[in-house]
Amino acid sequence: MMDDITDLDAYRGDPGLDPEVSAWLRVLDPATEEPNYWFRFRSWVVESAGPELARRRLLADVSVGDVLQAWSRTLLPTALAAAAAAAFLLFQSPATVPENPLLVEDLLVAELGDDPIPAALSLGNAVTFAADRF
């Protein structure tokens, strides 16, 4: 009966630490046999975490500003060079620009003279045409 009342109280309220059970469980703590155990455990973990921590430090050091700065360092000179080249081409001497630019159709028939192509390729003239042209 007494046990039941104690159990009920324990069930309802905050259980608190049970000194007896706590003393039993303490033998499961590795530090009872090796006082240095937790220090060794921690040292192992922190040492093994070294590379990952270093990687994180590196990432943290590279801020957004750094990324933009590094990016602009390459981008700005390239953009300036491209702009200068464009300006040079745009404002170069107008004499070099042909007054009547050739169209594609003109280019196709530019060196064929006045003879129409079918006439040039007609039988009899074909060999002559080829010899003349090539």
Binding site: A23, W24, V27, L28, W44
Partner: protein, 188 residues
Amino acid sequence: MSLKASEDSTDGELVELACGGDERAFGYLVQRYERAAYSVALSVTGKHEDAEDAAQESFMVALERLDECRNPDRFAGWLMTIVRNRSRNLIRRLSLRDTDPIPIGATSSQPTPDRVTETSELRGQLRAALDELSDIQRQIVLLHDLEGWKHREIAERLDLPSGTVRSHLHFARKALRKALKGPVSADI
């Protein structure tokens, strides 16, 4: 003002610093939860060596996935989930390798007759008694009565209702007393 890791720093602050690679902050997190991680791992694996491996592995995994810890102030609960999963995976791997599952207390239930100390005898009895408890009961009683966590902390960190934690703790203690009271109480 830049944040500096100290023993008084909150979990959230330490997690934030550790995310940036602060070794000191990570060290404090390990120091704060190493025992709890070991206890949870032990409650799953039942063997010191496996619990040690699982707990250490869990800290490494936690560091690698620290950015995934959505609520850094609840780091402990997140870490304990990793510990439980790693421990179960370890057991599964060992079971596959050895074909026989390793029950809790398997190593200590057969102490060598040449060198039986009182401590190892108690440890053996204790592990056998713990073996009778459910997984969650073992975790709760170890975290509460070995690591000194409050039942509310356990409830929050293991994501269990407070009343459930109290009842599990109560029945776990009762079972341990029943198993251990006679033979070892005189030695304590």
